[in-house]
């Protein structure tokens, strides 16, 4: 059994991206570097044999996904699960959390000028954001951050793939932020672990 076959089998049988570290656990011959070399080899094989899928880097891991040119075929088939799209308010709340994390509900609402608890709750249920700690101060409100599912949903390799603030048309002056205490994920019951 070749290493390319083993890695391919794992990627093929997984419904989420697997990191090089995860993948290296399967065989003693593997470490993170060799996993990446194997993945390069697989990519070349798929390219050469014109497979309809390829290995993409998502959320700090690797995932087998169809190539974009097949969307026109796949979006017509009922048996193909279609990607969910988030509403404009959900995207707005997510972008605030993504750039300002960790932050609390009150800060999100301050920025948007509207109540956001419903949207926030749904985002937590969908595991796109999760509580990551508590702020200092009155009531020690929960602070939220984005999860790995968030990265997967947008196809980001990491948070570094977020559009940089200075690429956005309006660059706002930063408000002085209270230094947050690095405060464990208490009370999160590990929602983003899966």
């Amino acid at each position: 059994m070749r290493l390319t076959q083993i890695i391919e089998a794992l990627l093929f049988a997984s419904d989420a991206p697997l990191s090089a570290e995860d993948l290296s656990r399967v065989d003693e011959r593997l470490d993170e570097d060799t996993v990446e070399a194997v993945i390069r080899e697989l990519r070349a094989e798929y390219e050469l044999s014109e497979r309809s899928f390829q290995i993409y880097e998502v959320a700090g891991g690797f995932q087998l996904l169809t190539r974009p040119e097949f969307v026109s075929v796949l979006e017509r088939y009922d048996s193909v699960p279609q990607p969910s799209r988030l509403s404009a308010p959900a995207l707005e709340v997510l972008s605030i959390i993504a750039y300002r994390q960790p932050l609390g509900r009150a800060e999100v609402e301050d920025i948007r000028g509207v109540g956001s608890s419903g949207v926030l709750r749904t985002l937590v249920e969908r595991e796109l954001v999760a509580p990551v700690g508590r702020a200092e101060g009155l009531g020690r409100p929960l602070l939220y951050g984005t999860t790995r599912k968030f990265l997967e949903h947008f196809g980001f390799r990491s948070l570094d793939d977020l559009p940089r603030p200075e690429e956005l048309p309006v660059v706002l002056r930063e408000r002085p932020q209270p230094q947050q205490e690095a405060d464990g994920a208490e009370g999160t019951d590990g929602t983003d672990g899966t």
Binding site: D33, V71, V114, L168
Partner: protein, 283 residues
Amino acid sequence: MKSPVEAVAEPHNPTANVDGAFVVELDRFQGPLDLLLHLIREQDIDIFDIPIGQITEQFLRAMSDVERLGLDRAGEFLEMAATLVRIKAQMLMPRRTDALGELEDPRAELVRRLLEYEHFREASLRLAEAQADRGRHYARGHVPPRTTSQPVVAELECTWDEVFAAALRVGERPKGPDDHVVAQRAVPIEEKIGLIVQTLAQLARVEFRRLVEPFGDKLHGVVTFMAGLELSKRRQLSMRQSEPFADIWLYRRDDVDPDEADVDGTGMDEADTEDADAPDADH
């Protein structure tokens, strides 16, 4: 009724320009800031010089059927309306000056909020694009469940001793040929001066090697050495070496042992450009 999160994001064009008057469908807006921003953009208004009377009037007109939105959302619009009316009144009064003696603009806080909100609006449009890009890739539709149970995240077994042992080894890694992938960046000498000063604030002396090893490349070594020379010139430390090719030590200046006094003013004994990699010289 779709849940607020599932609903498909669609570009909204909630106003129609009828005879120069804006007819606004209030419930198409996410909130008062969204509506304000829309009014400002639609009329090409300079956000730093908002005609507050005109905007207030348009905002109030747009709000005429606000009660349809329900109490909570209506309240948000009403609050903004109150703010606009207050700013409008303040514009008519003599301005106060701020701490710097500049005239305060009553609109300043509103402008800040609008800019901030617009920033995240733009960011959310970029997220929508990323979402659409990702939506063109499909994962495997059916991944059969494994016979063995899904891996459970086991209770963490890890002692502080292990972490601490790892801490002691930080910087020991032999640098492989692949290390050039780490972007080479300039190493400012100030950074190294800071590192040395901070270290000597805690330790009376430190081996040159220990300042350099964790960074592991030649450039850091050279710059750290230059930083050491600079500090010895400033008489903040002395550099010592017991014999050629031996380790170089940096001594805090006030702690210099007079017995091993450093005679020449350079603060450096046997100072040649050191090559730490040189073979042991029997000497």
